[in-house]
Symmetry: C2
Subunit: 336 residues, 2 copies
């Protein structure tokens, strides 16, 4: 079955293609009666405008790209869901650009996709959003983009973020208020900006409570389950065990839970464990995990909205900060 074109619609409605175009694009200056005739014709033919044709003819492709790199299935899924939801509202199509396993071909690939697909702009999520070389290259190409949680403001593009540092402080304060004093921290990958902020928040709050920095045991992890498990084993082998462990993300916290189970350490009676992100695992492990809810979906939704506004030429705020909140579940309690 041949694809319906604007000519078919114009013929059926008895107008020129330009008028059909006007109706499609909600331009003013079309007589209501004419508009209705055209709309009826479009409906009858089940007409769908050709994106490639619009893209070629007009400057705009009505296509935007979402650029991401691994973090985790849940993170990617939430980011995508947020972006998809916003696009669906506005009739924009989303092009996904996964940079997983791309290595140093990343920049080249992203630029190629931009040129090939004619996307109108990009939403860039961490850690790619902190790739300065890419940002500079995109800027040189004149690409419009919005970044999620970058580690700088070197570029004038809008930024959407949450306050990782304040959130980490809040969680730390919560553990301190429960009565914990020896609190272990499992840090995330130092090349992720949010990891650094979370560690900073932890340290500052500890200091604010006058805790001796020596009783702060900070172990380095790499954001995955295994590294959380190993870091916790090291901490629990220590003579002065912590009574609480705060992991920089949920996956590592889930690893910490396993390490405690292995050693027969009861959670939360003998050891409190807290995570960060509020991903799916937080509700699946036993005991369920106290954590910080990171509004990933909302951040992607907001970033996508900003990008679309930007493309339309609207003014948008340079920084959008979204709220987090603590989710208290079963893995934390006062020390024995």
């Amino acid at each position: 079955m041949a694809r319906k074109t604007i000519d078919d619609v114009a013929a059926l409605a008895g107008v020129s293609i330009k008028t059909v175009s006007r109706v499609m694009n909600f331009e003013k200056g079309v007589r209501p009666a004419t508009r209705e005739r055209v709309e009826a014709a479009m409906a009858e033919l089940n007409y769908q405008p050709s994106l490639p044709a619009r893209s070629l003819a007009g400057g705009r492709s009505n296509l935007i790209g979402l650029v991401y790199e691994n973090p985790s299935a849940n993170y990617v899924f939430n980011v995508q869901s947020g972006a998809i939801a916003k696009c669906r509202d506005l009739g924009i199509r989303l092009f996904l650009q996964s940079c997983n396993d791309l290595g140093d071909r990343l920049i080249e690939e992203v630029l190629a996709v931009v040129d090939q697909t004619h996307v109108d702009g990009l939403v860039i999520t961490p850690p790619v959003s902190a790739n300065h070389e890419l940002i500079r290259s995109l800027d040189a190409r004149g690409v419009t983009f919005v970044r999620m949680a970058p580690d700088d403001f070197i570029h004038g593009s809008p930024v959407v973020e949450m306050d990782d540092e304040a959130a980490a402080r809040e969680m730390t304060a919560y553990l301190l208020a429960l009565g914990h004093r020896r609190i272990g921290f499992i840090a995330g990958r130092p090349d992720h900006y949010s990891s650094r902020l979370r560690l900073k928040g932890f340290r500052e709050e500890m200091r604010a409570w006058g805790i001796d920095p020596d009783s702060e045991c900070v172990e380095q992890g790499v954001n995955d389950h295994q590294s959380g498990l190993e870091a916790t084993r090291r901490m629990l082998a220590n003579s002065s065990r912590p009574t609480a462990i705060f992991a920089s993300n949920d996956d590592m916290a889930a690893g910490a839970i396993v390490a405690a189970h292995e050693l027969g350490v009861d959670i939360p009676d003998q050891l409190s464990i807290a995570g960060f992100d509020d991903t799916q695992v937080a509700g699946i492990v036993w005991p369920t995990l106290t954590t910080i809810h990171q509004p990933v979906y909302d951040m992607a939704f907001a970033a996508t909205g900003l990008l679309i506004d930007l493309i339309k030429g609207l003014e948008v705020p340079p920084v959008t900060k979204l709220g987090y909140h603590m989710v208290r579940r079963a893995s934390t309690a006062p020390p024995a």
Copy 2:
């Protein structure tokens, strides 16, 4: 910076645009020396062909669509990863079509995307692959597609699947061989074909071992953690508790683990638990989960490859069956 076009390349190479086109598309009948000149020009200009233009002019868009609907973040992530990997190999771009939350607008939406984007074909994953009405509509539109794990072969399109029934039989046999006789089964959503196959495999193997069907307690779940938790609570409240529980997927098995922990039932000494899928959670829960590895990534990779062959007009096998394997972890053992 203006986008480079085929004219720029042609001018620099001192040939016509048609020749550049020939080189790009690996058509034969171009003198090697000419080809090299053109390739050098393309490289020098960092030329990227315009997808919309190719799509309009030629019949092909070099774009394929991946259609999916929720299942889970991990499932979607793996499917995407497989499809992306295959596309990357072949210079094809992937368009994602999430049908989550689309309800009865699903068919309309998918058809609209096909018409608008001019994708050359679709890879359709379950449960959408079993949506007969959609399949019929796509067929009527003459759309090329490959289905993953559909529940029928009503349509002649190629199918990629794994043998859920045999896998479930294998897991059941494993539990029986360990010495279990009272085995509980947590069934998945009956509207998912694979759920029905897994239940069938469980039942057949039990029967093959001459187990009295009354000692088969089958509880209905809906594929999520919570339903696995509740189903297990019901089973464990029973006077004749099972000594092993086989859940139709990992999420429900993770729920079963929590239920056992809540009641102080030791895993695996007092209760063995097995899952299905080998998703990320299987390695994160404690104890780690014995499960069946479902080759989701490979299935998507294969399906994408088949689709691309199909688009090229090649012959492809009607059914591609991929292998599974059992992953023995810590959640199963002989009964006490």
